[in-house]
Subunit: 355 residues, 2 copies
């Protein structure tokens, strides 16, 4: 038997239903800017141990909720758990970001990849979801997530994060059918993974397309958006007797909002390079929006942070359909007290837009 | 007495005057992908010696023109020569990009900065321009360039290139007047520097705004575009008895083309995340366009490169006003023979759009 949510602002705003104030959460809210996170991280030894140990993943997921009056929790995990479960050997080189021991480069490599069973190879994620839901005790909703197929493919083919995408784009240009095979197995894997998260208890899901913005508009549609759409159509869209919202976020995707809004998702993540008022005008009543404060505003004074919150709320304007967030993950060197300022400012200043 | 240009396609296309075929040049065409460049670079010892020695800068500027039928030369130099001339102490840490020994962080630091005299502190650049013009012997035009004030300011305040811009954005949010003082001295310095390049012989100029795309639309207008506009209005717009074209390029600026086109410049650099047909429709007859092939296409087969050239030319459509280029600098690991394929394909396939 599921407890009714005490705070369901996030779910309501994502579905453009009335709310009392604008909900707020922060990408990477469980992360290195929090001393209590760094402490757990140090004890765990390495990042993947944190992800793979449900008690630790649960603990760091809940940490920011103890400090700030956030309207959502987001599962602590990594977008690369799927390729890791496929056998690519994820590891984190010190200060260098994620890497794979066994990148996939050829049709033969790709042909061998199967869809991981989420309750087997990725059971540690589902166990974390179940534990977090229990600990949240109906306070705020829990967001689940996955990387987009294109974003996962870039890491899997390059073997690391990159800026030039030499290998994956060579594959895209010279052997598009091979890349499509990889993207298809990834789309099926992400769908199964997110559906398992939903079954385990997440109440909204977000797909992170970190590298879609490195494509031409044509290639974005063919190699990234198409597979996110396939995922959207394959997801269980109900949980706890209510509609489960799906958020798509393509970093640097501000030029393509119309296409994303037509994918069947409920909300779009917006980074700070797009004006929120323009974004709302462009997507109309199709989807809610989530964003879009420049993460660097959190280096500024409390007064400046409050002013910026006001500008963004005013840009979106009257009515529901906005989830306040940063336009990208919070930076490591931000003072946590600035987050308090931000969260309080969103709740205080947004009331007048929901009368 | 100046020789008339044998090949003036570039200048004509930038001013939207009729041409026989679409001109083509490549950002970073003098660079590490060429073995003959790596040889000179190794002999010089370090990158700044190459920039500071006119004979070497001239030699590497001319190298790509010996291999490829390019329609322009671009001065070999670096966007950070101006802050270096201001006394910030530019150096290149191995594999880490440019850094400054003395970043500027405070109003006091910024108050001490003066406009460098281009024929004194930056005489090595002007000597290179004069030598290259002489060696080009009227073959193709020479493009001069500088970094945008915002882009220079990010390096000067951060002390290095970055992705988070913590220091420069903190300044922007908390002490905007101080940042405006820095941007103003930079705009005056860039104007003097480009005018000196023009006096020394460059026949077109380009302003590189590498980091403008990291701003919100509002901050882009106030802290980047405004100062590029100040530069455009301060430039000598005639050389050798003809109009001298000015190109503005904001990487990831695809959402802001209308504002850039209204700055008074003649052409906009376009990266590959914007569709060229859409870009042309948006800027109308205000400006020419330069771009916009994904640099990663040069990893693909010759057939695929030719097909992509065809798609871009068809996207732009009939008539003058396009300068073919990549959407960003050529990558280091590209095979130079692919550039031959590209250049030949542009000339061959574009003839039909200029009948």
């Amino acid at each position: 038997m599921t407890l009714p949510l005490k705070n369901d602002r996030l779910l309501r705003a994502l579905l453009r239903q009335p709310v009392d104030v604008t909900p707020v959460w922060i990408m990477r809210q469980a992360g290195r800017y929090l001393p209590e996170y760094r402490e757990v991280r140090e004890k765990a030894g390495d990042f993947m141990t944190l992800c793979r140990t449900p008690e630790l993943a649960c603990e760091v997921t809940l940490q920011p909720l103890r400090r700030f009056r956030l309207d959502a929790a987001i599962l602590f995990s990594d977008i690369l758990t799927i390729p890791d479960a496929m056998g690519l050997g994820l590891y984190f080189a010190d200060g260098e970001g994620p890497r794979f021991r066994n990148p996939v480069r050829t049709a033969a490599d790709i042909g061998k990849l199967g869809v991981p069973d989420p309750e087997h190879e990725l059971k540690y994620v589902m166990d974390a979801v179940r534990l977090i839901r229990k600990e949240l005790n109906g306070g705020v909703p829990l967001i689940g997530f996955a990387g987009s197929p294109w974003t996962l493919a870039t890491y899997m083919v390059e073997g690391c994060g990159g800026t030039e995408f030499a290998c994956v784009k060579k594959l895209m240009f010279d052997e598009p059918a091979t890349l499509h095979r990889l993207l298809d197995v990834l789309a099926r894997s992400v769908t199964a993974y997110l559906n398992a998260q939903i079954a385990a208890g997440v109440q909204a899901v977000m797909v992170f397309d970190t590298w879609g913005g490195a494509l031409t508009p044509r290639d974005y549609k063919e190699f990234s958006l198409r597979y996110m759409q396939q995922i959207v159509h394959g997801l269980t869209r109900e949980a706890d007797g209510r509609k489960l919202p799906v958020i798509l976020f393509t970093k640097n995707g501000g030029q393509w909002l119309e296409g994303m809004a037509a994918s069947g998702c409920d909300a779009l993540g917006i980074d700070w390079t797009t004006d929120l008022k323009d974004a709302r005008a462009r997507v109309g009543n199709k989807v809610a929006l989530q964003g879009n404060m420049d993460p660097a505003v959190l280096y500024a004074s409390p007064e400046r942070i409050r002013a910026e919150v006001g500008t963004i709320l005013e840009g979106y304007g009257q009515g529901s359909g906005l989830v306040f967030n940063l336009g990208h993950g919070i930076h490591q060197h931000v003072d946590p007290d600035k987050v308090t300022v931000l969260v309080e400012a969103v709740h205080e200043q947004s009331r007048k837009y929901h009368s």
